[in-house]
Symmetry: C2
Subunit: 337 residues, 2 copies
Amino acid sequence: MTATRRPTLADVAREVGVSAKTVSRVLNEDGPSSPETRRRVLDAVARLGFQPNLMAKSIRVGGPDTTVGLVVPDLGNPFFGSVAGGIEEAVRGRGLTLLMGSSDDDPEREHALIRTFLARQVSVLMVAPAVGADHSHLKAHRAARMPVVFLDRPGNGLTADTVVSSNRAGTQEGVAHLIARGHRRIGFIGDLPTRLYTRRERIAGYRAALAEAGLPYDRTLVADAHDPAGAAEATARLLARAAPPTALLSGNNVMTIGVMTEVSRSRRKDVAVVAFDDVPMAAILDPALTVIAQNPVAMGELAGVVAIERLEGDRSRARTIMVETRLVPRGSGELPG
Amino acid sequence: MTATRRPTLADVAREVGVSAKTVSRVLNEDGPSSPETRRRVLDAVARLGFQPNLMAKSIRVGGPDTTVGLVVPDLGNPFFGSVAGGIEEAVRGRGLTLLMGSSDDDPEREHALIRTFLARQVSVLMVAPAVGADHSHLKAHRAARMPVVFLDRPGNGLTADTVVSSNRAGTQEGVAHLIARGHRRIGFIGDLPTRLYTRRERIAGYRAALAEAGLPYDRTLVADAHDPAGAAEATARLLARAAPPTALLSGNNVMTIGVMTEVSRSRRKDVAVVAFDDVPMAAILDPALTVIAQNPVAMGELAGVVAIERLEGDRSRARTIMVETRLVPRGSGELPG
DNA sequence: TTGAAAGCGCTAACAG
DNA sequence: CTGTTAGCGCTTTCAA
């Protein structure tokens, strides 16, 4: 069995009886070529099943690869999956392909992935930063004109384009929704660590809504958790208080699972809930879950668009693009306080 | 502002005053090198921020790139996101990176992605095939020892390693669960097109369960839909029959949204439901949703393991790995018929 | 309209 | 222990 080597440009050239450069010219529609040569070259290409080697192509220019390197905390999280889909949609037209990896929210893994991507000469680097990660080491690459885009959370130690949700305003709107329905004691169940950007922004929105309504901020109404089980416990503790909250704001989709599990388990029909981030079956829950919906696909698309503009030479100041969230009232926020 | 070119091996060599090969040797721990040289090279590497160019490295050997090309129908679907996470986990240790793209279940887009991946010299190609896609053109590449793994669905026109869920047995178990609770008229709501592999397997499991119980197969109890809205309509139609089904089997997670929306909307408490594929809030629904859970992470991991074995020279026959589904009774399947 | 030569960044093969 | 040469597959000069 022969080792079936892939045909190269030279193979095609030999087959046709022209130089490699001529084949290259025909294929890239670079420079002129006679219709006759053209036809014969394309013929041979088809016959041999020739596929140009993109690696070689990139190395030639010493230039970047035609990929977008994307680092997210977790590929399995549909939020990031949708973001990735949006990016792909936006950059496909430019011939860019997605190179992806999960950091598991570990700064070291994130760093390792970024290094791999850089070594692969990605044309664009997009990162949803892990808590505690530092990105100052990317300065040199940005100087070398490689676009860097931070997603969902800003980077640290590097000013670069950033695409985030309107976490603060969205949460504020959600809490205001509850206040408007008479709620005065509103619990907040957020994720950990508390210094996570999205967590900080969302709690800021929570506090802003309270402040605007002239309500005091009660620290004891704020709970934290790592996962659904923890969120369920936190919810149970809050609801067991002497003066329990009459409404809860769930800080993200993972927390929501725990919060709703506990509300449902305890059969408390007297507690209103608003959740940050939409979830598939929200409308079917009883009561239907009111959410502050994000738009991950749009986030990805915008990130892709910005990156392309940068690749095309846009040298303007780094932008922070805020993608609007949308309050979707479905019932669970309607319970009067 | 200088164009800040990335430092190359030659730059490092010049800095230290040795040859490029020596630097290469130190970095790859290939051949011997004096501790002194070693130190000075590593020093310069750090000082210059040198990162080896992986593209050049690959092209050198003429060998494959260190990537796994993965084509899925939809990046935003958490099922495929989790599969991707499993693959990454399994291949990271081998230094492989994921190159991903969505086909949107369009054979042409799938084909275009595959061509791009091949042009990039991926070391492994993994595909969740779109309906109607043909993969016979990959034969040459397999002959050239590039592992091909089909995910979730088998490929067409090419025998290759394949990782799928136990669709048939799982569905059979789910339907048997309903039959055991007295149900005799069980509706099936599946996706389209009906020739989709997973759809065919699941309906086969449905029929097998009926047959085993000596129940007739009633075509009119089978409905199809493209999306949640269609599934909701189909459900409504089924439930509006003169002799409505007393139980429903939902063919996948997208259908489930529509099915449950309609069951919930119509306040029918007299219909049992079992859904293929788990969904995040299943346990909180009322009644809690009984599911036939898949294990997408395991599917990805197994695909990764097989691919690595192939890369390491395993030339044995193509395998089909079936990942067991698991019936998770949560209540919605308990309603007696 | 076409070709020859050189080189992208790296490493295998052979010296020294 | 270290250097030189050659070449991966392609494209960019520069000539013909």
